[in-house]
């Protein structure tokens, strides 16, 4: 079975202009805030995690035709079905978010920092190669940054690894780094020079010493 993300857009040729929005302009239909709140409120039930949510969204066949809250809704519906939420014997929610605990839950958030199982493989300033091949599962290494030479710029500690967590294979914490690339390394000489440096946040398994 091949896994294909339709959300990996960096550097692709996409038509359309960027439509500006004023600051308070958050929603564009009355159902949109409801979808936002449903997705957030389903978090504490523990039926899925943020990486499963992202994997479900990015593999929707019509991802590119949908608006963002339509994507969120479609993924929520799909996950509800997959998790048996709408079946005769739905799974127990781990926790239900009630009105009086919303603000505390928002303030607390959900940290993905975890104790590291071993020391970091790389140090700041190290040169690294990113993994070359397209992934057959959910991953957070964008296509434009695959098989490229970069430099470790920051070390963020060990974080939950989306590649396993998205598929119910555990958190398997991995060291997370900010890896910076020269624009020429990513885009070659084709474009007019931008004078830019681009970074991604990359998990250790995406990287090899260069």
């Amino acid at each position: 079975m091949s896994y294909r993300s339709r959300a990996d857009l960096g550097g692709q040729d996409v038509r359309g202009v960027i439509v500006m929005e004023t600051e308070g302009d958050l929603f564009h239909a009355p159902w949109e805030p409801r979808v936002m709140a449903l997705v957030v409120a389903m978090g504490p039930t523990g039926l899925s995690n943020i990486d499963m949510n992202r994997a479900t969204r990015e593999t929707l066949p019509n991802y590119r035709e949908l608006s963002y809250y339509e994507i969120w809704l479609a993924a929520l519906e799909k996950l509800a079905l997959q998790n048996g939420v709408l079946s005769e014997s739905p799974p127990e929610p781990k926790q239900v978010l009630h009105a009086d605990s919303v603000m505390a839950a928002i303030k607390k958030g959900t940290s993905v920092s975890r104790p590291a199982a071993r020391p970091a493989r790389f140090s700041i300033g190290d040169r690294v190669h990113t993994a070359e091949h397209a992934s057959q599962h959910h991953t957070r290494l964008p296509a434009y940054a695959r098989g490229k030479l970069g430099v470790i710029e920051k070390i963020h500690g060990a974080h939950v690894f989306p590649d396993t967590n998205a598929h119910g294979m555990g958190e398997a914490p991995q060291w997370l780094y900010t890896v910076a690339f020269a624009e020429k390394e990513l885009w070659g000489d084709a474009k007019p020079l931008q004078g830019s440096i681009i970074s991604i946040d990359a998990f250790e398994p995406y990287l090899e010493p260069a």
Binding site: L26, R34, H98, G109, H156, V160, D201
Partner: protein
């Protein structure tokens, strides 16, 4: 769409996963309490207080939490500072990762394919669409937030604002200036 959403909400409520009253509180929180005015306060404080600025650049999560802004989609914050030589800009090419705790919900364009595809490859073109033209010698530093680290741009304090109070300064800080697609407003 309206009916589809209502149907799902009803089902999730009946099965005991959702408390509809919690949804109302959530929506209100992101409409009235958690938005870019939070981030503007962080920026204005950093402009006024050199010690706070250093703390923000060293440990943004803690420095931001000290002003009461913490939690969801801001658990792992990094502040990146614009200088005379470097302009920072934030994108999430893979989805729509955004620092909710300081900026609230992302604008539609931030989640859209045109911005996500082009910000990494043609940042000057994108900035131009936002009405921002930077000197050719200025380096543009793009942060693609591909994991759970969330980035807040600390823009340059506009000239001629020495006499302004912290809250007057906060009013100059736009949402876009904290994403890096804009600059703070000049003082009136």
């Amino acid at each position: 769409m309206e009916l589809r959403v209502r149907a799902l909400e009803t089902q999730l409520t009946e099965k005991g996963y959702i408390d509809p009253a919690a949804l109302d509180v959530l929506i209100d929180a992101y409409q009235t309490k958690i938005g870019p005015r939070n981030g503007a306060r962080v920026v204005a404080r950093a402009w006024c207080d050199p010690e706070y600025r250093r703390w923000l650049l060293r440990d943004a999560t803690a420095a931001i939490a000290s002003l009461g802004f913490s939690g969801r989609q801001g658990e792992h914050m990094v502040a990146v500072e614009n200088t005379a030589d470097v302009h920072n800009m934030v994108v999430c090419t893979l989805c729509s990762c955004y620092p909710w705790s300081v900026l609230g919900l992302p604008p539609t364009w931030y989640k859209s394919a045109p911005y996500r595809s082009r910000a990494v490859k043609d940042p000057r073109g994108v900035l131009k669409e936002f009405g921002v033209e930077l000197p050719p010698a200025m380096q543009i530093r793009i942060w693609d937030s591909t994991a759970e680290v969330r980035y807040l741009v600390l823009p340059l304090r506009p000239p001629g604002t020495e006499h302004l109070s912290e809250s007057q300064l906060a009013a100059l800080v736009t949402r876009d200036s904290m994403i890096g697609t804009g600059l703070p407003k000049p003082p009136t």
